[in-house]
């Protein structure tokens, strides 16, 4: 059938989205993680009971001891602004990989349970990310050798983990963790943390900008894209061709910068060609 062959040319030419590989890897990893997370509920329960415990203790102390109550007000730490700082910096090098990591942690939020929980989550996330990256490096090396490549042709994969401290106040703390690998640029991943210190809740755009968050953000981004597009070197995908068409919901990725402004982030390829890199938009 000649016409079938003709149609097949079209079928085979269907564009493969760059996100595909990322999605497949992620879905497979997530499904394997399910088994590991058995430990998690216990941990949360532990934190919850720890919070409850300290709360009871606190109330109790204030009730029975007026001098204690007075002394808390004077403890400077409680007034100090939350900070993000590097807890651990490490380098690891062997034949397959080269790791450069800066691991952030919270301190001085005045809510130590929250700090413990967030810091623990960061550690878990980074361990997981590193494990994945190491595994990928091993697989890549193995594949290279199995397909006739020489060990000396293999260049160790460079894995970088760093963070960007966005913003912190008595109420909120915001930062992001970035991981990049030289194996494939598609493997640059970002994790965002926007936390309400009092409640420990993860903040979304609705929490920060109010119920009109979508109008505010969409308008600012459309304007900025138009502005940036005046420079012919800046190309964005068009509407209907994978370009920006408004944020989907309040869980859009963002962080809060040092001036306290919301910065919306789009990953590479998300709304513009790869060479444009990660796209950030400051919302005034």
């Amino acid at each position: 059938m000649k016409s079938i062959e003709k149609a097949q040319k079209v079928y085979d030419a269907v564009k493969i989205p760059t996100k595909l590989n990322y999605m497949v890897e992620k879905t497979i990893l997530e499904s394997q993680k399910e088994r590991k997370t058995i430990y998690k509920p216990n941990y949360i329960k532990f934190v919850a009971s720890a919070i409850a415990c300290s709360f009871i203790f606190f109330v109790f102390m204030i009730n029975i001891n007026p001098t204690f109550a007075a002394s808390i007000a004077e403890i400077p730490i409680l007034k100090d602004v939350a900070k993000i700082f590097t807890i651990k910096e490490f380098k690891e090098e062997d034949n397959t990989k080269l790791i450069n990591a800066k691991i952030p942690a919270l301190e001085n939020t005045g809510n130590t349970d929250l700090e413990k929980r967030v810091n623990y989550e960061i550690m878990l996330k980074i361990n997981e990310v590193l494990e994945e990256a190491e595994q990928r490096a091993e697989e890549y090396k193995k594949a290279l050798i199995e397909t006739g490549g020489k060990e000396e042709d293999y260049h160790p994969i460079n894995i970088q983990i760093d963070y960007k401290g966005g913003y912190s106040s008595e109420k909120t703390v915001s930062f992001m963790i970035m991981k990049s690998e030289t194996l494939a640029s598609a493997y640059t991943e970002m994790y965002f943390y926007n936390i309400d210190i009092e409640t420990g809740k993860n903040l979304n755009l609705r929490d920060v900008l109010g119920s009109d968050y979508k109008e505010i953000v969409d308008e600012a981004i459309y304007e900025e894209i138009e502005e940036r597009s005046k420079n012919p070197e800046n190309i964005y995908f068009k509407k209907g061709e994978g370009g920006f068409e408004g944020i989907e919901n309040e869980y859009q990725k963002f962080y809060i910068n040092s001036e306290g402004k919301v910065v919306i982030v789009f990953e590479k390829y998300e709304i513009a060609p790869g060479y444009m890199g990660i796209q950030e938009f400051i919302i005034n």
Binding site: I4, K6, K9, V10, A13, M23, I28, S31, G240
Partner: protein, 160 residues
């Protein structure tokens, strides 16, 4: 069953482009095709214990993928007919592709789901009749008759 799972993961990773194209031929939309495939991968990994023989990994996965795709098309009929026009935008153009080729491709897309499925699997995915029967949970003679019917409908569409 560790081995079966590894084989499945390996199969998915090496064939991800192909699997995406199958999903895309039902959804005709990039995001939805990614969703369909993601859903299928999750289901397959969760139900790996139901895969009786690892040799059937391909047909078994296709069955899940096609089920997911059909479910999607049922839910989103109206949206999909609009997006048929979008096809041209989602193609990596090269000199060999002519406008008439796209027309034929669109005709295949417009066939009903059962007929379209056998044509895609038989010709584009190069599967054997027996494999298609397994993947669609039917038998060889049903596949043959759908294939025949699909091709004759396609001929009619092209000649009109």
């Amino acid at each position: 069953m560790q081995d079966a799972k590894e084989i499945l993961i390996d199969y998915i990773k090496t064939n991800q482009d192909k699997l995406y194209r199958v999903a895309y031929s039902y959804s005709k939309n990039e995001e939805s095709a990614l969703d369909i495939l993601q859903e299928s991968i999750e289901k397959a990994l969760k139900n790996i214990s139901k895969l009786r023989k690892v040799e059937y990994v391909k047909t078994w996965f296709y069955r899940i993928l096609i089920n997911e795709s059909l479910q999607y098309t049922k839910k989103n009929k109206r949206i999909i007919t609009c997006q048929l026009e979008e096809i041209e935008k989602n193609i990596e153009w090269n000199e060999e592709i002519k406008t008439e080729d796209i027309e034929i491709y669109k005709h295949i897309q417009s066939l009903n789901d059962k007929l379209k499925t056998v044509i895609i699997l038989r010709f584009f995915e190069d599967m054997k009749i027996e494999e298609i029967a397994k993947a669609t949970k039917t038998n060889v003679s049903t596949v043959k008759s759908r294939l025949y019917k699909g091709l004759s409908e396609l001929k009619k569409l092209i000649n009109n």
